[in-house]
Amino acid sequence: MWIYEKKLQYPVRVSKCCPRTAKYLVEQYGGADGELSAALRYLNQRYTIPDKVVGLLTDIGTEEFAHLEMIATMIYKLTKDATPQQLQEAGLGEHYANHDSALYYNNAAGVPWTAAYIASKGDPLADLYEDIAAEEKARATYQWIIDMTDDVDLQDSLKFLREREIVHAMRFKEAVEIIKADRDTKKIY
């Protein structure tokens, strides 16, 4: 089971009300390479992957939910108290018509999240390479979003999340080595 902890993994500060940035950030909320996809992808792969790497998938999958909450926090802060007109000017008129300021699992273009974003091949190497690719794609998405905001506080939280993608990719690469070689982890190449 999962236990919720009433705190964020990393402090999220947003220094200006900017619904446009929220519109882009939602890519990491309900987009193909976003945090929801990541969490569900890894946790779902656990049931058929060799036992040696189940712990890693469980822990990274769980951390992704913490990241999902950070993204939600950013979107919440960026749009909190924004008027319908501000939302409209930020390109969120369509969103407002359907959801008011509620969060929804869609990507930056408004396409709803779909399970088609996550693969589950049942082959350990195929699944782990998918995971590594997903981390690199998420890292790239963070870069493009960091490039579009001048809010240094927001950039700070996004840089944290970008770095986490790099560490996760590192661990998945190690998982591939473990799967490949059935290696003694004490041995270092």
Binding site: I3, Y4, E5, K6, K7, L8, Q9, Y10, P11, V12, V53, G55, L56, D59, I60, E63, E69, A72, T73, Y76, K77, V167, H168, R171, E174, A175, I178, T185, K186
Partner: protein
């Protein structure tokens, strides 16, 4: 029931986030390096520090965990603000 979010709240929270983050990093690392004794020792030591830090935080600002992993004063504290995205 609106708790005062003073500077102490933010610094205590940050301290806990720092400890917990090191524990996350060590967890993922140990998942692929289960034989690193030094890292396990560091993990256990930080876990102990974390417990103390979280306990202090909870005494002042209320429970961090649900379902019986934290204690509550009267009235039931779990439902009190702030929620993480509000601070």
């Amino acid at each position: 029931m609106n708790k005062k979010l003073d500077a102490n709240y933010y610094s205590k929270l940050l301290e806990l986030q720092q400890l917990d983050f090191a524990l996350v990093e060590l967890t993922l690392y140990l998942d692929t390096h289960p034989n690193d004794l030094q890292a396990i020792q560091q993990f256990n030591q930080l876990a102990q520090q974390r417990q103390q830090c979280a306990h202090q935080f909870e005494m002042q600002y209320g429970p961090l965990l649900q379902f019986g992993h934290s204690y509550s004063k009267y009235p039931w504290q779990w439902i009190e603000t702030p929620w993480p995205w509000q601070v």
